[in-house]
């Protein structure tokens, strides 16, 4: 079965207008993309195609092809890297708790170091997420 491709989009009608005052020829081309390919509808063997076949409405605008599927898979795989950021942040704040338990007077200093460590670890996770979105939308 050969399914429809964009190559089947073809100008169906060409109309030419000429207005006396405009002195220009406007050409309008109507393109019709066969949204569902007649050939894609499965027919029982040995039956010739009728002239008018049942057409279905295409309700989604995006065409899902193998390229988009690859993008989805790539973005999903890239998002796994955020787990490293989660582990790092857990370690940082666990160490903050232990450090504060040992010396409660250093609360402010320890907390500012913890926030610094959290920010850096989060940045790594966001780099990973950035690559995921790059794959999903830009490549």
């Amino acid at each position: 079965l050969r399914c429809c491709s964009r190559a089947l989009a073809r100008p169906v009608s060409v109309s030419v207008f000429s207005r006396p005052e405009a002195q220009a020829v406007q050409v309008r081309l109507f393109y019709v993309v066969p949204l569902t390919c007649i050939l894609c509808i499965p027919q029982p063997a040995g039956v010739s195609y009728p002239q008018l076949t049942r057409r279905e409405f295409q309700t989604s605008a995006v065409s899902r092809d193998i390229d988009t599927a690859a993008k989805f898979i790539g973005a999903g795989a890239a998002t796994v890297g955020v787990a490293g950021s989660g582990a790092g942040i857990g370690t940082v704040f666990g160490s903050l708790i232990i450090g504060y338990a040992r010396n409660p007077s250093l609360k402010q200093q320890l907390f500012s170091y913890a926030i610094l460590g959290f920010a850096l670890s989060e940045a790594m996770g966001l780099f990973c997420l950035m690559v995921a979105f790059l794959i999903l939308f830009a490549m």
Partner: protein, 161 residues
């Protein structure tokens, strides 16, 4: 191999005082704090909220129901936080800290003074003298003595700044 067996044997021994992070703290909720030097007693069994001590394993704060521990003091500042939150600082030269299971804390210092007895300029000049002494020291004993002086004076200057 032998170490692993030793560790297993240690782990199998009953340890009634070992407490994990998740267990609730046992003992009285108030700390009985004793802080003295051979010449002067600062606190004797009084109730304070928190004590920060400088030890050879680092500075840490002691609250009520602290894990029992024995530590050696380093030259530095002992900060005592009273029940109402006011902090009093003392400079200690050396000594020991004992935290018991019944929340009694004894800080016994070799020499302990309040911060107003110390002068920053004198401390800085003492530090310079000690550094030059260490550079000029010939044998190991005098070098060690000079190093002790340097560390003590560094702690003094840091405490006063």
């Amino acid at each position: 191999m032998i170490r692993a067996r030793q560790l297993l044997r240690l782990a199998a021994l009953p340890r009634p005082h070992a407490r994990s992070y998740a267990d609730a703290a046992a003992g009285p909720a108030a700390m009985a704090f004793t802080f003295a030097s051979p010449t002067q007693v600062f606190y004797n069994g009084s109730t304070v909220k928190q004590v920060d001590v400088p030890t050879l394993t680092g500075s840490f704060g002691i609250l009520a129901s602290h894990v029992p521990t024995l530590q050696v003091l380093k030259p530095g500042v002992v900060t005592v936080y009273a029940e109402d939150g006011t902090a009093t600082k003392y400079f200690v030269s050396s000594g020991s800290v004992t935290v018991n299971a019944d929340s009694t804390v004894q800080v016994l210092a070799e020499e302990a003074v309040t911060m107003d007895m110390l002068d920053l300029a004198t401390a800085k000049s003492n530090l310079e003298k000690a550094v030059s002494e260490m550079a000029a020291a010939s044998d190991e004993a005098s070098k060690a003595e000079a190093q002790i002086k340097v560390e003590a004076n560094e702690a003094l200057v840091k405490a006063l700044e």
